[in-house]
């Protein structure tokens, strides 16, 4: 129960997955339980010299072309031409994840259309690939012509524009751009809009594409792993980690106000009990050395959810597998939890998926509530030798066969944005 006036509670009632570890709930669940990763060999720009060898690839889709005419996706999704024309590659992932999430929530597309009570909150960085293609054309013709769909298919916001139009969302539509905290911000603000009584339901969408234009700029920052062995490339909290592994995909969460969800007999994954955010005020790209902003964000999330550190029994860490970021998060977790005498299980599922940037917060929130619903706790299967900064943190290698009751989900983005959610088990009726 939150401290917001009105006592409204927010529930997760539907999930949709297009991820490196599966394109449906059952496959994602099986991958998480088995510790099965979704990384695969990649080569960008036809250049084997590029030191990026593996990535969290999306299977059963082909969206590498700059022309949407060439794209393919699983036939079970009904994606019409007039919607496709304005989309980015990651928009196709998002469209499919959204159709899946609506079905999972027991909703038909018509149930969320033109109802003035359903919002759409999206997180992506736009399509650098299509943006590059459009601008290259613009320069080639000295600005005299361009693709009419160039803007809406490529700028940050392309997800909101396209999905809102197709699904006829009239409650509220907006986008979030805080790099790797973007989707977590979307969930947080969606939660507040529902608690404030402004919306009854919010479709939260995170998506990113995986291509040279999105990923290789991170290689320039020396932020990516150079490992070619998928089991060694993404090793959050391991002493031998050497950077993150990029990933693409989309995840959608359907959030609904509790009485509204109950009135339609919705099945519930978990409650979004609260969230918190705080910033580092330290570096454009690196975490604060002791995770100062993250510590405050965790504290605010716990307070909002009205739980203590000892109530948390699982933390899905941001844990991207970068040397600096993981160390800062480990220090922050010890400062909040160990100092309070709490030792929750901690894992970073990015060991299995890689790091999907703006999508991360939504993907991992969905993993958390799926684990709560189905009764398991994801482990750290690629962890061999924990970093010394992780001493005294409980980092199970194997998936645990029991589900957590109260969960913390961490995300951190460039510029020191830190966002945390608390999810609580919701008893079945």
């Amino acid at each position: 129960m939150s401290s917001f006036p009105g006592g409204r509670q927010v529930l997760v009632t539907g999930l949709g997955f297009i991820t490196p570890i599966g394109n449906d709930r059952a496959t994602v669940s099986a991958s998480l339980r088995a510790g099965k990763h979704g990384l695969a060999p990649v080569e960008f720009l036809g250049n084997p010299q590029i030191p990026v060898k593996v990535a969290g690839t999306v299977k059963d889709f082909s969206v590498d072309s700059t022309s949407c005419r060439d794209w393919t996706w699983p036939a079970r999704y009904d994606l019409p031409r007039e919607t496709l024309r304005g989309m980015a590659p990651h928009g196709v992932y998002a469209f499919c994840a959204l159709q899946q999430a609506l079905a999972d929530a027991g909703l038909k597309p018509g149930d969320v259309a033109n109802d003035d009570e359903t919002g759409l909150f999206c997180a992506s960085a736009g399509s650098a690939m299509l943006m590059h293609n459009n601008l290259a054309l613009m320069h080639a013709v000295r600005g005299e012509r361009g693709n009419p769909m160039g803007v809406v298919s490529s700028i940050a916001g392309t997800l909101n524009f396209n999905l809102a139009a197709h699904f006829h969302i009239t409650g509220a539509v907006c986008g979030f751009v805080s790099a790797c905290a973007s989707a977590s911000h979307a969930i947080g603000y969606a939660c507040d809009e529902i608690r404030l009584g402004r919306l009854k339901r919010v479709l939260v969408v995170g998506a990113e594409e995986l291509n040279a234009e999105t990923l290789l700029p991170f290689a320039a920052m020396r932020a990516l792993s150079q490992q070619s062995d998928p089991t060694r490339a993404s090793r959050p909290f391991d002493a031998g980690r050497d950077g993150f592994v990029g990933a693409g995909g989309s995840v959608v969460l359907v959030l609904e106000e509790a009485s509204f969800a109950k009135s339609r007999g919705a099945s519930v994954y978990a409650e979004v009990a609260g969230w918190g955010q705080a910033a580092d005020g330290y570096s454009v790209a690196m975490s604060h050395p002791t995770g100062a902003g993250l510590q405050r964000a965790i504290g605010r999330a716990l307070k909002d959810a009205e739980v203590g550190a000892k109530d948390i029994d699982y933390i899905n860490a941001h844990g991207t597998s970068t040397p600096v970021g993981d160390r800062a998060e480990a220090i922050a977790l010890k400062a909040v939890f160990n100092a309070a005498g709490a030792r929750p299980n901690i894992s970073s599922t990015k060991g299995l998926t890689g790091h999907p940037l703006s999508l991360a917060g939504a993907m991992e929130a969905a993993f958390c509530v799926l684990a709560m619903k189905e009764g398991f706790t994801p482990g750290n299967p690629h962890l061999v030798t924990p970093d010394e900064a992780c001493a005294d943190l409980l980092l199970p290698r194997e998936t645990l066969a029991t589900g957590p009751a109260t969960v913390l989900n961490n995300s951190s983005g460039f510029g020191g944005s830190n966002v945390c959610h608390v999810f609580k088990h919701w008893p079945s009726p």
Binding site: R81, E82, R85, N147
Partner: protein, 95 residues
């Protein structure tokens, strides 16, 4: 560009069908007639018209101005416009 005018008509019809919003006629195999209006009958919006024009510009290496499009409302008018545009283009001296 010179060549087979009938073939050109077929290409234009194929493009019209490809850019046509599917929610209206879908892949129903409905016969496209010259008197059909792009917007009223086929569900085109201004962006779909712009996309079609962008496609023709690329395909036929011509430039089409917004003002030229104002008179094009039906499939027949579009076919006539493209044929005329190509003829104009063909008559221009090459450098």
């Amino acid at each position: 560009m010179t060549g087979d005018g009938d073939a050109l008509g077929i290409v234009i019809l194929a493009a019209v069908r490809d850019f046509m919003p599917k929610r209206n006629l879908g892949n129903s195999g409905v016969e496209l007639r010259p008197d059909m209006k792009l917007m009223e009958d086929l569900g085109y919006d201004s962006l779909a018209v712009a996309e079609t024009v962008f496609f023709f510009e690329d395909l036929f290496k011509v430039r089409i101005q917004n003002t030229e499009l104002m008179s094009v409302r039906t499939i027949g008018e579009l076919q006539k416009f493209v044929v005329q545009k190509l003829a104009e283009n063909a008559s221009k001296p090459t450098a």
